[in-house]
Each structure stands twice: as C-alpha cells, then as structure tokens.
C-alpha cells in the first residue's frame, strides 16, 4: 500500500511558483493513483476564489488544474475556515468543493495521512 500524502498549499496563486508546484505534485501523484489530499490555508485559500483573470498578468489560470483534481482521484480537499474568514471570502463562493475545516480540526486532518508537505 502506497503511503498517503497531504499537500498543504499556503501560497497565493499569482505571485511565485509555490501554488502551481503544490498543484502539480497533487496531479502527478493522482495520475499514479497515490492516496493524496490537499489542504488550502493562509493565502493558499486565494486559489479557490472564483472569477479570477490571471491572463491580465500573462499567467496561466490554475482554475482548470484545480477542477481536474477530482478527475485525478484527489478528492480529499480541505480549506481552513479561519483563513477564509480572515480574508473576507465566502465559503459558499469557492471554485472547488473543499471541506471547510476549523483550525481545531486541522491536527485530525494531518493524522489522516502518512506524510505531509507544506509549500
């Protein structure tokens, strides 16, 4: 049985490569049927905002990659509810279905996986 991996993505989508790299790890692992989950917290929750137009910055949209996660078998998606609230984001308006998770419940999310990587 392959080890399960939680990818914690805490970087905003259009400044730097960390958000894209976290997503690439998830999609690559998913393509090989590895048991994976993703947790969006801190500025990482900005990846989940609908209606973003990164073309204005000549960047590729991550939205399609996010939507592809369930197709690649990555459907354990979590979003930190406190990170959303602090940034004025409405959980009902997210582009991707992620399980809203309060900070107190985050240790239990970590405990569902063998390994964790934070980017």
């Amino acid at each position: 049985m392959a080890k399960s991996l939680l990818i914690v993505s805490r970087s905003a989508p259009w400044s730097g490569l960390a958000a894209r790299e976290a997503l690439d790890i998830a999609l690559a692992g998913g393509a090989y049927d590895l048991p994976l989950g993703m947790l969006f917290m801190d500025d990482g929750v900005f990846q989940l905002v609908e209606g973003q137009r990164p073309e204005a910055l000549k960047q590729k949209n991550l939205g399609a990659n996010l939507q592809a996660l369930p197709l690649f078998g990555v459907d354990a998606l979590f979003a930190c509810s406190a990170s959303l609230a602090e940034r004025g984001l409405d959980p009902a308006m997210l582009a991707v279905p992620a399980t809203l998770t309060a900070p107190e419940a985050l240790p239990a999310v970590f405990n569902q996986f063998d390994e964790v990587i934070t980017l």
Binding site: C80, P103, L106, A108, F110, D114
Partner: protein, 97 residues
C-alpha cells in the same frame, strides 16, 4: 499519531509560525531552528504564546540558539542527532517551507 512541525523562519518576518500554532495538536512537537529561534526572545508576545502550548512539546536547535545569544530559553534544546531522533519519534514531519 502525531506530527513534528519544523520551522526555520523568523516569526517577525512571516506568518509560518503563527499558522503552525493554529495546526498544532496536543500530541505534536514543534522544533524551531535557524532564524525561527528568535521566537524565543524572552518577553515577546510570541515567546509568551510558546510558553503556554497545550500539550505540544517545544524544541529548539541548540547551536542556532547559541549563535543568536539565546542562552536560557523556554524550549528543550536538541542538537542535530537529537533532531534526527525526533523526526523518528513522531509519525510524520511537516517542514514549513
């Protein structure tokens, strides 16, 4: 089931340590190394917070404390072999890159 969280950046420069404290469970460990040991500066709000962790164990890399003149800090001092030993003692290691 427990996680060893490893942080190496100063809490005065970014939000990693604050976010990590949010995810810290009662059986978890927190190891400060590099500039993150500045979080142990006595009298600062972060040091006070670290002094009241509910259950979680707090460790600091000894040479990083010594190098920064932090001699009597409220954390269990470990050296590099101790770092390795800790990474085996916990179920998983989460390095806050």
């Amino acid at each position: 089931m427990s996680t060893l969280h490893v942080i190496s950046s100063s809490p005065f420069a970014d939000t990693r340590l604050g976010s990590c404290l949010r995810t810290l469970g009662p059986n978890d460990g927190l190891l400060l190394c590099g500039e993150a040991v500045q979080a142990l500066r006595p009298g600062t709000p972060m040091a006070l917070r670290l002094g009241t962790l509910a259950g979680a164990r707090l460790y600091a890399l000894d040479e990083d404390c010594l190098a920064r003149g932090l001699e009597s800090v409220e954390a269990e001092q470990v050296d590099y072999p101790g770092f390795v030993e800790l990474s085996l003692r916990y179920t998983r290691v989460n390095t806050w890159l």
